[in-house]
């Protein structure tokens, strides 16, 4: 019963934030919302299906580059077109990649996804004429709701219309994911995670369900990747690098992979903690590595696990 109240308070806080908080903190919320979308998808694979991808940055890269190519080369500036295009591009790539990867589990799944991610990274880096090489490409400011927002400075645009647009996308993505994990399909995924043999003998096609989960999480990463690009105005190959894949798995673990809202908390904690640490100490990786080691060893339930009194339990999802 307390969850809806907490959600309402949080929702209100997020809505009024641009009106009360300094623009700097509001712009930090933008990557949070983009990563929020990405991690909701990643956790369908990690937390609900039990597959750890070390190449998920591939789809973030696809989403971000789709946005950059559309705005700079093809003259498509409407975000309402860019996001579906990013989702489609991610799905088109994820279909064959996923079909190959889901035949394996555990370390082999992780290695295969890592290899696919690095193929795309190398492609971005080496095919200079198409992708701009290591300098990447510019992502022009997209139109929102059909409007150009010409009168807005960059910051006004980001903390105003773009903020609310991202928020709307995140809320929509959350609601859809909530329905997915609560559906019979979501229950099948959990069964597969806990006991693939039993799932198969109960008539659940393990490979097919894993493939669906892979596709959905790739689409989420594509959309999140496209959301990630406009605030920086630039996309580059590091978006698809394997350490980026590692970082997003880290975020999920930080928040707690066995809870529905854990990944969102993880994205939030990661981004604001990174900002805080970097402002006092340039070597944020040292601190974050130690945090990750601590979580793995002592608190595998993540932040959500620390809040929960009992050991992390399943979100019922319904």
């Amino acid at each position: 019963m307390r969850t809806p109240v907490a959600l309402a308070v949080l929702g209100l806080a997020v809505l009024v934030l641009p009106l009360v908080a300094p623009p700097y903190y509001v712009t930090l919320m933008l990557p949070f919302m983009a990563y929020g979308v990405i991690l909701l998808g990643l956790n369908l694979l990690f937390g609900y299906t039990g597959l750890v991808s070390f190449g998920h940055a591939l789809f973030i890269g696809i989403g971000a580059y789709t946005g950059a190519v559309l705005t700079t080369k093809l003259g498509v500036r409407h975000m309402e077109l860019i996001l579906p295009a990013a989702a489609l591009a991610a799905a088109v790539v994820a279909a064959p990649v996923g079909a190959l990867c889901v035949r394996y589990v555990k370390i082999y799944f992780g290695m295969l996804t890592l290899a696919f991610g690095m193929v795309f990274y190398t492609f971005l880096l080496k095919f200079y004429r198409l992708t701009g090489g290591d300098e990447g490409m510019r992502m022009l400011r997209p139109y929102l709701l059909g409007r150009e927002w010409t009168g807005f400075s960059k910051v006004d645009y980001l903390v105003g219309p773009y903020y609310y647009f991202s928020l709307a996308v995140l809320v929509l993505a959350t609601l859809v994911m909530w329905r997915i994990v609560g559906s019979p399909f979501g229950l099948c995924l959990k069964t597969i995670r806990d006991n693939p043999l039993k799932a198969e003998s109960l008539g659940v096609s393990v490979a097919r369900h894993r493939w669906y989960a892979f596709m959905i999480s790739a689409v989420y990463a594509g959309v999140g990747g496209a959301l990630l690009a406009p605030p920086t105005g630039n996309v580059d190959p590091t978006l698809a690098y394997w350490t980026h894949s590692g970082n997003i798995v880290f975020m999920v673990l930080l928040g707690g992979f066995s809870s529905f809202f854990g990944p969102l908390l993880g994205a939030f904690a990661f981004i604001f903690l990174q900002d805080t640490v970097m402002s006092v100490f340039p070597y944020w990786r040292l601190i974050f590595g130690a945090v990750l080691a601590f979580i793995v060893i002592f608190a595998p339930g993540g932040l959500m696990g620390l809040f929960a009194r009992r050991p992390p339990v399943e979100v019922s999802g319904a």
Partner: protein
Amino acid sequence: MGGVFHAAILFLVAAGLQVVFGVQKIFNLACGSFYALGAYTGVSAVGYFTGHGGPPALFIVPLVAGGLAVGLVGILVERGLLRFVYDRDETFQLLLTFALVLMLEDLVRMTWGTAPVSTGGLYLIYGQARVLGATVPVYNLIVIGASLAIALGIGWLLTRTAFGRIIRAAADNREMAEALGVDMRWVYVRVFTLGTMLGTLGGALVIPATAAMSEMGIELIVEAFAVVVIGGLGSMRGAFVGALVVGVLRSVAISAYPELEMLLIYLIVIAVLIWRPRGLFGAAVA
């Protein structure tokens, strides 16, 4: 020949990865970080040596000593971190080594700064030789020879010594080895330190030929990863053959189709994972 030199270095790092995976079943993402650590330590050791009047021709002594000595951090890592997660899901083990990658990368930056460092003009101090019609620095030949010797040494260790028998037994069946009176904690410390030292030595040996950079670790790990996938996880012969395949293919691709360089390697990795996930020499013992 540049490819064979690269293969010799890759073999060392990949061998470290394999021995740890074979016995401890942990895929150590930090093996590239150990490589970077060895490289930076090598530069510092050589700098100290020549700065204190050591004859430049003997630079290889502090280089190797530094590379091996810093490998002892393996003890710290194993006792301080890894021993807590042996019973955990391999996802958590993988993430713990990823935590190490993050920490070591910044430790290197903190200690040695962000600018590349190198040993200066020591690379060609032994002159050059003509091999099969190509001009090759003699230093490359030394490293290739050393790497071959280490490969043979590991083979000898695994097949002919009591410790090697214990390692193979532990790789096959940990519980049984433990029941027969093998102190697994001790085996794990030694195996992990051996793996770490192979990585740091590889880093130290590469350094006269190239500058040390803070990203070198995370870049090498994906190559070492390609080596062990092609060769087969946990197999020493696999590491040897895989390193040759990756090292030579890369140098051929760089000169023939620069754009395909690593792309080609990853495509081979994917092909191997799909057609023969065990790799060329998979399912063998460490």
